[in-house]
Structure formats: structure tokens, C-alpha cells
């Protein structure tokens, strides 16, 4: 169990994550923690418990600073306006929210309209991330998505006309039946909308999902075809002015997601709600996924890992190399207390000769063409245990 008072000395600013584990329907590929509910029926008990936890945290840690807030799910846009208001109010009581804080929510097409976006805007939200996944309706229904493409288009327009200028679309590739052409069509459709950011992931078959259970009924693109799609994604987006800043994330320069950057730079973040993860003071902890236990206040934060300096250093490297800007070796040495050059130097030398990584000054990057096999590159880089 985690005692939040351990973190009373925290220096901010923190990232804050709020998990809303409810959806209209569960998508066939999804192994996230979420429960299907009818529209507008997020239990008040869940919201109350969130508010309690936020309050408790603020009291025990002395109201730390926050500069990013992210609502994820699930489908946070199933919250009622009143529930949004209560949570935001508690956040501003328990955190010192800095000026210019990025406040985002995830949103599924067909769960938000112009009116909701206006409300969110007035509550301080300045970024939305919309789960488009594909512009192709057949692919959407195969994935078990409840929306169709025209609803995506309308949702983006609504968000834009409500005043949102930071809009992300989540896209998916590697869907059964998807081709490089249909994927490229989806990307171009996405970019024809007023969006500043695209996240695009290869579909991953997770155990326990319906898609995985029925995997033999589908023809999945093989690794080479998926890699072809990824290449198409990169070149298409680059042509349209979106820069790859992380393996799966692209933006108009200056419009990167600051909250997500915290995950990749090992910055501190605090999560609320079931199955949320937090990382403070080299300790990773989480709230278990048991909804009933959470609602009856029986559950508390549990430790996932306390990082040794070496492990922290490895994580900073592994996560940082997801970014095209890579990592500064002196920076991760300073932060972890481990001499990164001594730890990875030999491997880096070999790998530079092979041409898989680059080290200029003290900044280590994975060469662009190896980004999609980064696991194998990281494997070479990490020292043997």
C-alpha cells in the first residue's frame, strides 16, 4: 500500500490523469479497464470517490503544482456537465494549476456535441483527443466501434467551432482487411479536418479481447504489411506538415501533447480513478481495476515498482528513445545518479557503427528508419543483467 504522505515534499509541476472507466460499448480490441453503461449514467458514487481521492492527495501533499491534466478512459465524455464541474472544481482546490496548463480529454465520436464542447471550453479545457481510428466504416464496425466516419467529421467540427484549437485524432492500422491504400485514405481524411495532432497505433491483439478470441476468423496484415502501413503513415503525414515526435505520435510543430511527453521523459504524474497509474519520486503505483472495491473505498493505491537508480536510468533511456529528439545522456545521468555513458557506452559505439543509433554531442537518438523496430534496438542497448 502506498502512503500518500510520503510525497509531501513533492516539487511540481505534476501531470494529473483522471480515469473514467465507462463506455457505451466495449470495442472488440480493447483490454482497457472500462464498463459499458447507457449514455449519461456515470455513477455519482464513482465521481464522489474520485473527488475524495483528489482532495485526500491535495491535503497530504500540500497542494502541489500541476501543469497538465488529462481525462482518459473509457469515454470521459459520458460524464454529465455537473460531474465535469465537480471534478474540475476539486482539481483546482487540490492542485495549484499553473497558467497555460494543458487540459485535455479523450472523447469518442458520437458522445459529444457542440454544447458539451462549449461547456468544456468554459471549464478550462483546451485540448481534445478524438478516437477516430479509421475513416472506413467497414473497418470501424469490425473493430466494434459504435461510431461511423461521418460522426467523426461532425465531432471534430463541433470541437473546432466551440473554440478548440488543439485537436488530436487517434488512428489505427493493422486492422483485418485494411490495406495500405485504405489506411492512407483514412490518414488523408483525418488531416483534411482542422487537427494539430495525430496518434497512430498498430492494432495489438490483447489476450481476453473478443478480437483475439476470434482471431482465426480474420486475416490480419502480416508484420511486413503493417510495417508498410507505418512507412506510409510517416511519409504521408510528413508531406502534410505533421512531424513525428514519438514513435506513434505526430503533430504540427509546437502542438505536441505535453501530458503524454511526461510519460516519455520520466516526469512525475499522479493518477486518479481505477486502473490509473502514478509515478512520483521513482515509485510507480496504481489503483487496482476493481470497480466495486473502489466504490466502497476498500481499495487504495498499490506499489507497482520502486525503481533502483539503474532501473530508473534504463527507463529514462527506453522511454526517451521513443522520442525523435532522443535523450540527453548527461540529463539522464544527473537525474538517475547513474553514469549513462559508462552504462551504455560500449553498446552505443557498436551500434553507431552499425548505423542504428546516433550520438551527437550528448544526445542519443534511434535512427529514423529503425524507429519501428525500437524494441530490438533497445535490446542491444540495455546492459546484460
Amino acid at each position: 500500500m502506498i502512503e500518500l504522505s510520503w510525497f509531501s515534499h513533492l516539487k511540481g509541476p505534476l501531470g494529473v490523469y483522471i480515469h473514467i472507466p465507462f463506455c457505451l460499448a466495449k470495442c472488440k480490441y480493447c483490454d482497457f479497464c472500462s464498463f459499458p453503461i447507457p449514455p449519461g449514467s456515470v455513477p455519482d458514487a464513482y465521481v464522489d470517490r474520485l473527488i475524495e481521492d483528489i482532495e485526500d492527495f491535495g491535503l497530504k501533499t500540500g497542494r502541489p503544482e500541476a501543469d497538465t491534466i488529462f481525462f482518459g478512459g473509457g469515454t470521459p465524455t459520458l460524464l454529465s456537465v455537473r460531474q465535469w464541474g465537480k471534478i474540475m472544481e476539486q482539481l483546482s482546490r487540490s492542485f495549484r494549476i499553473l497558467p497555460g496548463t494543458e487540459i485535455s480529454t479523450e472523447c469518442n465520436p458520437a458522445t459529444a456535441d457542440r454544447a458539451l464542447f462549449s461547456e468544456l471550453k468554459s471549464l478550462g479545457f483546451n485540448r481534445v483527443s478524438i478516437g477516430m481510428q479509421s475513416a472506413n466504416d467497414d473497418e470501424l464496425s469490425l473493430l466494434g466501434r459504435v461510431h461511423r466516419n461521418e460522426q467523426t467529421v461532425r465531432t471534430v467540427r463541433d470541437a473546432y467551432s466551440a473554440g478548440f484549437r488543439e485537436i488530436n485524432l487517434d488512428m489505427m492500422f493493422g486492422i483485418p482487411g485494411q490495406t495500405k491504400d485504405s489506411f492512407e485514405h483514412s490518414i488523408r481524411t483525418a488531416c483534411s479536418l482542422p487537427v494539430t495532432h495525430i496518434s497512430s497505433y498498430a492494432l495489438q491483439l490483447e489476450p481476453g479481447t473478443p478480437l483475439e478470441a476470434h482471431r482465426n476468423e480474420y486475416v490480419f496484415p502480416d508484420d511486413d504489411q503493417v510495417a508498410d502501413m507505418y512507412d506510409a503513415l510517416c511519409s504521408c503525414l510528413s508531406e502534410l506538415g505533421y512531424e513525428r515526435y514519438e514513435i506513434s505520435n505526430f503533430s504540427i510543430p509546437g502542438h505536441e501533447c505535453r501530458h503524454n511527453l511526461k510519460y516519455w521523459t520520466g516526469a512525475p504524474y499522479m493518477g486518479f480513478g481505477i486502473s490509473s497509474h502514478s509515478f512520483l519520486d521513482r515509485t510507480r503505483f496504481f489503483q487496482p481495476s476493481d470497480l466495486d472495491a473502489y466504490l466502497t473505498s476498500a481499495a487504495g493505491y498499490q506499489t507497482e515498482e520502486e525503481l533502483t537508480p539503474e532501473r530508473f536510468c534504463d527507463e529514462l533511456l527506453v522511454l526517451g528513445l521513443r522520442l525523435t529528439r532522443g535523450v540527453s545522456l548527461s540529463d539522464i545521468s544527473r537525474r538517475s545518479g547513474v553514469d549513462a555513458l559508462a552504462r551504455y557506452g560500449t553498446q552505443i559505439d557498436t551500434m553507431r557503427k552499425q548505423g542504428t543509433v546516433d550520438l551527437s554531442e550528448d544526445r542519443l537518438t534511434i535512427q529514423p528508419q529503425y524507429m519501428f523496430i525500437s524494441n530490438s534496438i533497445l535490446d542491444d542497448l540495455l546492459p546484460d543483467r
Binding site: D224, I247, N375
Partner: protein, 604 residues
């Protein structure tokens, strides 16, 4: 109490695999109260785990039983248990030479099979009285009369009155014991002649040193005598003599003509007490040794390497320990560029090789990489030399070879006649030369082929079984060397030759084999960050090529707060997996890749 020579019976039990030899032995031990029922366990004489699991006898063992026969007299029965497999033919023949009779067990549902015949012939060669026993009569498909007829027709010994038993159920075991007493002759031997005994086995005991198992032919021996091994010339002072009991050794004062027992003499090295050698006394030596001694030579060779190079020392110790009990295991250090330090090991045959591998892995907890088995080739070079090559990587290049020869075996295959076509195709395909074909009865055929040994050692036995639904059986013996168009096939990964993958093949088969192995390698080499060409070459000529495409997707697409721990674990796992790989130059190969080239017939 000393037993009169007329009341001793020395016998073996011989059979085809799975015909019930060990079960019958168990029943005899039980019936004679040699082992109390509560101490009984299955396959009592096969005390290695491996023997029990696979239902085979690897090591010979002897045990003494006392039996009161229906004539009212008490007899000493010495059962000498022998390995049943063709790999151990020489050991079997020596064990048989220590006996006057052999119980030939035939499965009533299967009839005579290749090893039944091979073993029966060995017994005939050793002038043994053969006592057929029909086993498994409890099974509904048992054909007792047919079996008896077959034994009379094929082996030519009377079988109408032979015992028909179920060793499993314990039916008619008494009948077997009675026949042993009445049918098998008592040993002959002159107790007053110079001492002469046959070594039919020896094993190593960490306390006693080498325990030599002997059958006394003439004379007698006592503790304190000085013995001489007639073929090696070595002499030792006897520390202890005695007889073998099921759970250990029973010392006694004296062993005389006709008896079976053991000698210990503080001998450290089992290699000095060769099976088949003759023991005599230094003070009064016999005139000549017993006939039939030969040094057993390994027929099959393979490189054995520790998967983890750091365990070379452990592998060395393990081989030393196995050799203590297995003089037929040969090994010497060798170095492979690809695999590092290991051993070139010589085995009596493929089963022997499998057994050694399994024991190394199981009893010594070693992970091994074994190269393709090879035979010994004889090569006359243009320089006028004749070299024996047991390691393919040392095979001379085509322009150095004047003439190469390979070992040929005479194979005896017994099969239901309906599979003969497929089996003849197989033998043809393996460069076999047809000798003759005989009908054993209306349904079964005996096929004789001369086959190159190197065609048998890969997967011939598996192919034989799959083409006959498991019914065909095989036995073979070395015939000699014959000239042959042999070439060395090399493999290059990413342009670098991998010595451990080289092997010798007949010129005509080189192309097909090269293509197939290249394909197999492709399947077994994971995709790397770069493209890997796989090439097969004879000398400098490339004859097959495959390509392992570069890795293109190996990424955790999503990585947010909840994914970090999982991601780090995944990387660790991936790294663990990599550790098991073998680095061959710039290419990492799984240990299974080496096995892959052995399994060629799988999808034929």
C-alpha cells in the same frame, strides 16, 4: 553354500523392443522370491530413469536367483540381462557368450521382428540353447499358434511345446522356470584348469572402483589372487569377489567354473576392463584368451557443445563421469569457430548418441548444441595420404580428394508385405543397393539392402517407421568401406562460413539437400536488423541461396503510464531470449537451427 556345476543355469533374455523382456525378468525375480513382492518395482533391472521411461535396456546387468524345481532340486539361475538394440550388438554378443541358453521372448501379437531375428542369430552364433517364450497371451489379438509356427519356420527351432505366458499378468511363469532348468544345459568347465573368465560387462562404483562382471569358464578365483586381463595385459590384485543380487553385491569366498559373479580390484578406469576380454590368474595363466574379443569402435560422431560457453568445464566433467560407466563413449576436445569449445564424441550408434545427450541434459542439467551426426569417411588425397575424417569441417576440398570412401551397412528390414513398396522407395532414395527379399510368411517380408551408413544416421529410422505405420523393424551390421562421390556442403550466413553446419553428402544429393537445409535455416533464423543471405556451397561454388528478410516491426506501439512496467518486462524477456541464441559472426541463431538440419524427412 556352494552350488554344484550341474545345478547352475546361465541364461539371457532376448527380444525385440517392447516384446516384454524386462517384464518377464521382473516376474522371474518375483517367482523365485529373489525379490519380495513388496520390494518389487517395474523393470527392476533397468535402474536408470531413462531405461524405464523408454522401456529399453541400455546397460547389461546380471542377477542370481535360487529356484526349487519340480524335481525337488534347488538350482542357481543366473540371468544376464542384455541391451536389446542394434547399437549394442557387440555387448549383447558378449553377454550371450557368458550363457548356455537364451530365453527368446516373442510378442504374440507382433510375431518375429528384426531384432528378434538379429538376437536369435547372435544366440545361435554363441551356440546357445534357445528357449522360445510366447508373451502377451492375455491380449485379445494374441496369435499363439501362428507365433510358434513362425519361430519354427523362420528361426528353425522347435517351438510347439514352448511356454506361452503373460508376463504382465504373471501367467505360466513357472513353466518358463521349469523349461530353463530342463532345456538349458548346465555349464561345462574344468574347475581345476587354469582360471579363465569372460568379462561381459563392467561398471564403476565410486567406492569400489570398477566392478568387473564375469562368467567363470574354467578354474576358480579367490580374494587376494592377482589377475591378468589377457588382451590388455594389465594386472591387478583382487580386493573382493562375489555374486550379484537384485539390490547389490554379495561378497563370497570363491567363484568357480560355471558361475557368474564380480571382481573388484581397485581399478580406476573402466577403459582398462574391456567387455569381451579374458581374466586369468597371473600365477597360473590360461594358455589362450577366449575367442571373439574386439575393441568396440564408435560408428557415429557428432560435436557436442554447451549452449552456454561458460559451461564447457561442466560438460567435460559430465562426459568424464558418463565414461566411467560407458567405455564405448569416446570424446575429445574440439573447437568450432561457430560454437566455441566442445567435444567431438563417438557413439556406437544413433540410439547411443541420443541416450548420451539425454543423460547429459538430464543428469547434469546441461543445455547442449549437437551438430549433425557424421560417420567416419576414408579419404585418399592427391598427396598420397589416407585420412580418416570424423568431423565434416575437416573434410578435404574437392581438388584435394583422389578418392573418398564411406561405410556401408547390410540392413535387414522386416515389414508387413503391404509396406514393401514404400520401404523399397525409401532405401532406393537413400542410395541403397537391393540384395534380396524373402517372405517370412504370407504377410511378412524380410528385405536386405546395402545402405551407406551416413544415410541411416539422419532420420532413416523415423522414415522407416512412418512409411510402415510403425510396423517395420530394422537391424544392420557394418559391411565395410566403399568408394563414393562425396562432397562437403558448407553453409554461409551473411557471407561467413559456419563450420558447425558443414556436412558430407553424396554429390547427387547435394543440391536437393542444400536447398532444403537453406530453407530450414531460413525458418529457424529470426529476422535481424539487417537482411541475412543464407548460402550453401561446395568449395567456392554456391549451389543454393535463401534470404532472411530484415526485421521491420518490433515495437510497443503504445506506451503510457500503465505500460511502462510491462514494456520493461518485455524487454527483459526479449533479452533473456537473446541469451539463448548463438552468435555466429554477425548472426544470431537459435540452438534449434542445428537440429533443423537433422530433420529432413519430416514433410516429405
Amino acid at each position: 553354500m556352494k552350488q554344484k556345476i550341474s545345478h547352475i543355469r546361465n541364461f539371457s533374455i532376448i527380444a525385440h523392443i517392447d516384446h516384454g523382456k524386462s517384464t518377464l525378468a521382473d516376474r522371474l525375480l518375483e517367482m523365485t522370491n529373489t525379490v519380495a513382492k513388496r520390494e518389487m518395482e517395474n523393470q527392476l533391472l533397468d535402474n536408470m530413469d531413462l531405461e524405464r521411461e523408454r522401456g529399453i535396456t541400455i546397460k547389461a546387468r546380471a542377477v542370481r536367483m535360487n529356484y526349487r524345481a519340480s524335481d525337488g532340486e534347488s538350482y542357481t539361475l543366473n540371468l544376464i540381462d542384455t541391451p536389446g538394440h542394434v547399437d549394442f550388438n557387440y555387448e549383447v554378443s558378449r553377454s550371450l557368450n557368458a550363457c548356455e541358453g537364451a530365453v527368446l521372448v516373442v510378442d504374440a501379437t507382433q510375431g518375429i521382428e528384426a531384432q528378434t531375428l538379429a538376437n536369435a542369430y547372435l544366440a545361435v552364433d554363441a551356440n546357445l540353447e534357445i528357449l522360445p517364450v510366447i508373451n502377451k497371451i492375455d491380449l485379445p489379438s494374441a496369435m499363439i499358434q501362428k507365433c510358434k509356427d513362425e519361430i519354427e519356420d523362420v528361426i528353425g527351432i522347435p517351438a510347439q511345446d514352448c511356454p506361452a505366458v503373460s508376463a504382465k499378468m504373471g501367467t505360466n511363469i513357472q513353466d518358463v522356470l521349469e523349461h530353463i532348468v530342463t532345456d538349458i544345459p548346465a555349464p561345462e568347465g574344468d574347475p581345476d584348469a587354469p582360471f579363465k573368465a569372460l568379462i561381459f560387462d563392467s561398471n564403476y562404483d565410486s567406492y569400489l572402483g570398477v566392478v568387473i562382471n564375469i562368467r567363470v569358464v574354467d578354474g576358480s578365483i579367490q580374494t587376494g589372487d592377482r589377475i591378468r586381463l589377457m588382451n590388455t595385459g594389465a594386472e591387478y590384485d583382487v580386493v573382493e569377489i562375489g555374486v550379484m543380487e537384485p539390490f547389490g553385491l554379495q561378497p563370497c569366498a570363491k567363484l568357480s567354473a560355471g558361475e557368474v559373479g564380480y571382481i573388484t580390484a581397485s581399478i580406476k578406469n573402466i577403459g582398462e576392463t574391456k567387455v569381451g576380454d579374458t581374466v586369468t590368474l597371473a600365477s597360473r595363466p590360461a594358455e589362450s584368451p577366449l575367442p571373439g574379443f574386439k575393441d568396440s569402435h564408435p560408428m557415429v560422431f557428432a560435436g557436442i557443445y554447451p549452449a552456454d560457453g561458460a559451461r564447457y568445464g561442466d560438460l567435460h566433467d559430465a562426459l568424464d563421469k558418463l565414461q566411467l560407466n560407458d567405455a564405448s563413449l569416446h570424446y575429445e576436445p574440439e573447437t568450432s569457430i561457430a560454437l566455441g569449445f566442445g567435444f567431438r564424441c563417438g557413439f556406437l550408434g544413433l540410439l547411443h548418441m541420443e541416450i548420451i545427450e539425454e543423460r547429459l541434459e538430464r543428469e547434469f542439467n546441461l543445455d547442449l548444441i549437437t551438430t549433425a551426426p557424421s560417420v567416419i569417411y576414408q579419404v585418399k588425397t592427391r598427396g598420397g595420404e589416407t585420412v580418416m575424417v570424423d568431423n565434416p569441417s575437416r573434410f578435404p576440398t574437392p581438388d584435394e580428394i583422389l578418392e573418398a570412401s564411406e561405410p556401408i551397412v547390410r540392413a535387414n528390414i522386416i515389414s508387413p508385405s503391404s509396406y514393401v513398396g514404400g520401404l523399397m522407395d525409401l532405401c532406393q532414395d537413400r542410395r541403397g543397393v537391393f540384395i534380396d527379399m524373402k517372405y517370412i510368411d504370407t504377410e511378412r517380408v524380410e528385405l536386405h539392402y546395402d545402405l551407406p551408413l551416413n544415410e541411416i544416421i539422419y532420420d532413416f529410422f523415423d522414415a522407416l517407421k512412418s512409411r510402415s505405420r510403425g510396423y517395420a523393424s530394422l537391424d544392420y551390421e557394418l559391411k565395410g568401406y566403399e568408394p563414393s562421390k562425396l562432397v562437403k556442403l558448407d553453409f554461409l550466413l551473411n557471407g561467413e562460413q559456419v563450420d558447425a553446419l558443414s556436412f558430407i553428402v553424396h554429390e547427387e544429393k547435394a543440391y536437393a539437400r542444400a536447398r532444403k537445409i537453406a530453407e530450414r535455416l531460413k525458418e529457424n533464423i529470426p529476422r535481424h536488423q539487417f537482411e541475412i543471405p543464407i548460402q550453401a556451397a561446395i568449395g567456392s561454388k554456391i549451389i543454393a541461396r535463401e534470404t532472411v528478410k530484415a526485421l521491420r516491426k518490433d515495437v510497443l506501439a503504445k506506451c503510457y503510464g500503465g505500460d511502462v512496467t510491462r514494456k520493461m518486462k518485455l524487454l527483459e524477456k526479449q533479452k533473456e531470449g537473446k541469451k539463448k541464441m548463438r552468435q555466429l559472426g554477425s548472426v544470431q541463431v537459435s540452438p534449434e537451427a542445428f537440429m533443423a538440419i537433422l530433420k529432413l524427412d519430416n514433410d516429405d
